[in-house]
Every structure is written in structure tokens, then in C-alpha cells.
């Protein structure tokens, strides 16, 4: 493949419930440190959630924070951190050739709920409805706030793809770079969903809201006692560049995005479809020119729901049945489900495996569900292996949207 079509990751900015930069996040993943809290939610009382504690004032004024959204702040923090990490000459870059592509599961529910609550204090008189509501709730808001804050005049928009969105944002960045629409991408995903009661209430009504007396044990994919999703906020933005440009400026290269897959189940609004998931993985492998046995680490999407975890394992067993050197893990067991950020954030937690040849564990597996058994599932403590050269990252979402990315270690 031409150097111009090869796309690499050159910077990472993130905020997760257990880390506000890659080294802190990775250390906590290797040390087995989850961070789930019990928070108060309007109308519902306490629920379990992953909360980020980055300082938004690092890159925003108080007024920007007041007028904007939490997703906007998360995106701005991650974008600044990614740019700084990339080492690119930001003052010298042509900002009309920078694209911002942020995956979101949903956006606007938080702000709408807040306004409805606000006018409820005034007998539902809509003249008290804020004029900030529209700019806060347009679907491009989280990416648009990044554009304004960083004075980026290239395209900005969000990619709505439910919980497959983080990967989808990344994939879109790759596509736009290959099409030469832009020269530099800020791509990934963000989520502010823990600030809406609706997502918790809906998962509870669905019988899919995770609960445990000890918050850090609530997100427990593959364990027999799993009882649902722990919703988290978070964000992860990557700087992506064509390999030629990255080499020219001697950038640090975290890895090359060698393959991706996006497809749809076309079967159900909430239930996953293992056949389509398997097809999506095959699609990514084909694009990458790799065989299942070439994959060293699979980061699973499993969200700690009864059916979803089993069905993903079915898909994985189909594809990786003869792959003795493929290992599996799950990042949600530490940080919960960061929704639109999940795919991008979980991938980031695993990219350091290229350097340290260590696979972070899936924690909270006290009793492995036999229906979730996978050869080489890394549980409860990290595993040192000979080498990790390829990572396959799964992310699936409601309405049956599947996304898979494959990252390969870049050998200089």
C-alpha cells in the first residue's frame, strides 16, 4: 500500500473514570484499579456510574464551560491533550485541513432534561426555556465546541453510531485522510450520558442496569453474577496522519490502522446478532489482509449483560477457534461502558501492549460463565506474553451497528 494510504496514530488524548492521560490510565488497568461510583441522579436517586475528574479549566474559560456541554468539554480536553501528545507544530499547521470526527452514542438528552426540569420550576412556562438549548443540542455540538476552541476551520461533525461510535469516529478519520479531504484528523469518541437520568432509567426498565454493593465490582463481563451495564462518561481523541506525513516530521507512531469493519445486524433494536458481528470481524481482517491467527489481542465489547456477553463470545469462538496465540480481554470491567467513547477509549488502554507485551486483565471474574469461555481469556491479573503486534478492537451498538478496528504495531 502507498505510504499516503497508510494511516497511523500519532497522538492520544483521553479521560476515563480511572485516568486523565494514557500513562495513568494504563497503569491503573495493569494495577487492577477500577473506578465506579454511586452518584445521585434526578428522579432516580443513586445509581452506579463511571465519572471523570479531568480539569476542564485547563483548556476552557468558565464562560465556555457554562454555555457549552459536558461532551464539549470532554472533547476539548481530549483534543488538546492529543495534539500536545502528537508533538505536531500546531501553530504552523493549516487548520483548514484538520478534520474533527467524534463518535457519539447520543447527544442532547442531558441538555433537554435540564431544560424541562428548569421550566418545571416555572409551571412549565416555555418563556424560561434557555436560548442556549439549540447550540447545546445540535448533533454536531461536541465536535463544534472543539472547532471553536481550537480555531479549526476544517470539517467538524459527530458520528452517531450508538456504542459502536468510538470506533466509527476513528474509521471515519481514516477514510477522510485516504480521500485526501484533510491532512490531520482528530478522531475518536465522547460521552456525557451519565448526566441524563433517562439512560439509567431505560436500562433499568430493560433489566440491564448493572448493580452491586461494591461499585467497583458492578461491571463484570463474563462473570456468572453479571447483571447489567454500568454507564460511564469519558472521551478519547486520536490524532491520525498519513504515514508519509508522520515519518516526515519524525512523529511517535502508536500504531497503524490496518483494517476496519462496519456493518449492520438488520435484525433487532437492542439484541445483538453474533453472525453479523462475526462478519464484521471478518470484514476487518480482510481489509487488513490478515488471518485470525495473526491477531494477538482481541479487546472485547462485552458490556456485562447476560445475553450480549454470550453472543459476542459465540462470534469470537467462530472466528478464533484455531488461534492459540490470540488473547482476549475487556476494559469495561474497570471503567464501565463509556458509550460513544467506549471503542476509542478501550483501544487506547490496550495500545501500550505493543511496547510492554502485557495484556491487561478482565477483572471481576469470580466465576466464569461457561457460555463465555474463550481460549486465552485473560482474567483478574495481567498477562505477560512474548509479543503483541496486532490488536483487534470490537465495539457494537443498539439498532445493530457493529464496528471493528485492527491496529498493527509500527516497526520503524
Amino acid at each position: 500500500m502507498d505510504l499516503n494510504d497508510r494511516i497511523v496514530i500519532t497522538g492520544i488524548g483521553l479521560t476515563a473514570p480511572n485516568g486523565n492521560n494514557l500513562s495513568e490510565y494504563r497503569k491503573n488497568l495493569l494495577d487492577g484499579k477500577a473506578n465506579i461510583q454511586r452518584i445521585e441522579t434526578r428522579y432516580m436517586g443513586p445509581v452506579l456510574a463511571g465519572v471523570c475528574n479531568f480539569d476542564p479549566l485547563r483548556y476552557q474559560t468558565k464562560k465556555e464551560i457554562r454555555n457549552g456541554t459536558r461532551a464539549g468539554s470532554i472533547g476539548i480536553y481530549c483534543a488538546h491533550e492529543a495534539i500536545r501528545d502528537s508533538g505536531v507544530d500546531w501553530q504552523g499547521i493549516d487548520r483548514s485541513r484538520v478534520g474533527i470526527y467524534e463518535g457519539i452514542t447520543e447527544h442532547g438528552n442531558v441538555e433537554t432534561e435540564n431544560e424541562i426540569y428548569n421550566i418545571s420550576q416555572f409551571n412549565y412556562d416555555t418563556k424560561y426555556w434557555s436560548h442556549h438549548h439549540n447550540p447545546r443540542t445540535v448533533a454536531n455540538n461536541p465536535a463544534g465546541e472543539v472547532s471553536i476552541n481550537l480555531k479549526i476551520t476544517g470539517p467538524h461533525y459527530t458520528i452517531g453510531a450508538a456504542c459502536a461510535a468510538g470506533n466509527a469516529g476513528l474509521i471515519h478519520g481514516v477514510q477522510m485522510l485516504r480521500l485526501k479531504e484533510i491532512d490531520f484528523a482528530l478522531a475518536g469518541g465522547v460521552s456525557e450520558s451519565i448526566h441524563t437520568f433517562g439512560i439509567f432509567a431505560a436500562f433499568r426498565s430493560q433489566g440491564a442496569l448493572g448493580e452491586h454493593n461494591e461499585p467497583n465490582k458492578a461491571s463484570r463481563p463474563f462473570d456468572t453474577a453479571r447483571n447489567g451495564i454500568v454507564v460511564s462518561e469519558g472521551g478519547c481523541i486520536y490524532t491520525l496522519e498519513r504515514l508519509e506525513d508522520a515519518l516526515k516530521r519524525k512523529a511517535k507512531i502508536y500504531g497503524e490502522i490496518v483494517g476496519y469493519g462496519l456493518n449492520s445486524d438488520a435484525t433487532d433494536t437492542v439484541l445483538p446478532n453474533p453472525e453479523r458481528q462475526a462478519e464484521c470481524i471478518q470484514l476487518a481482517l480482510k481489509k487488513a489482509g490478515l488471518h485470525p491467527k495473526d491477531i494477538h489481542l482481541v479487546n472485547t465489547h462485552a458490556t456485562s449483560t447476560n445475553q450480549g456477553d454470550i453472543q459476542e463470545c459465540e462470534a469470537l469462538r467462530q472466528i478464533f477457534k484455531d488461534c492459540p496465540h490470540t488473547y482476549f480481554n475487556n476494559t469495561k470491567s474497570f471503567i464501565g461502558h463509556a458509550m460513544g467513547a467506549a471503542g476509542a477509549l478501550e483501544l487506547a488502554g490496550n495500545l501500550p501492549s505493543f511496547e510492554d507485551a502485557t495484556i491487561h486483565a478482565t477483572i471481576n471474574v469470580d466465576n466464569l460463565d461457561p457460555a463465555c469461555e474463550l481460549n486465552n481469556l485473560v482474567i483478574n491479573k495481567p498477562l505477560k506474553v512474548n509479543n503483541v503486534d496486532t490488536i483487534l478492537n470490537n465495539s457494537f451498538g443498539m439498532l445493530g451497528i457493529n464496528s471493528v478496528v485492527i491496529i498493527k504495531k509500527y516497526i520503524y
Binding site: K62, K63, K127, Y128
Partner: protein, 83 residues
């Protein structure tokens, strides 16, 4: 209510909607926009806060009276004293 009270009310509202601004040396007769980084959305915030906190309505045609602290006080004083 006196002019000084109205001034305090307006400055309090501005401190909430423009929390990064230094309001210690605001000149009453100079346009607020010429002294502070305020845009049209911020002026709508002032209108909204007057409505929410004090039940004062400022019709769109009267927004011009919110230009400076001095004009705010002159315009709002009779409204506050009517409520």
C-alpha cells in the same frame, strides 16, 4: 429600590454569565460590550435572569436600554419599583 441596588443586581447577573471577567472597574456610562467580552447570547442571558429572578420582562425593542450600566439602571429602576 435605589440605583445602587440595581447596579448590584446587574453586576451580579453579569458575574454569573461572564465569570471570567473582572468587574471591579466597570464604567457606568461606557457600553458593556466595549468593556467586557459579551455577545448577543450573553445579553439574552441578562434578560432571562431578570425574568427568572425578579419577574422583570424586557421586550426585544427595549434591549438597547441594556447597553451600559447607566442605561440599565435608568431603564430598570421604575420596573423594579413597580413590582
Amino acid at each position: 429600590m435605589k440605583a445602587e441596588d440595581i447596579k448590584k443586581i446587574i453586576l451580579n447577573i453579569i458575574s454569573e454569565i461572564a465569570p471570567d471577567e473582572d468587574l471591579s472597574n466597570i464604567k457606568e456610562e461606557v457600553r458593556l460590550r466595549d468593556q467586557l467580552a459579551l455577545d448577543s447570547m450573553d445579553f439574552l442571558d441578562i434578560v432571562m435572569e431578570l425574568r427568572k429572578k425578579y419577574g422583570i420582562e424586557v421586550p426585544e425593542g427595549d434591549y438597547i436600554h441594556l447597553a451600559s450600566l447607566e442605561s440599565c439602571i435608568k431603564y430598570l429602576l421604575p420596573k423594579f419599583n413597580r413590582t
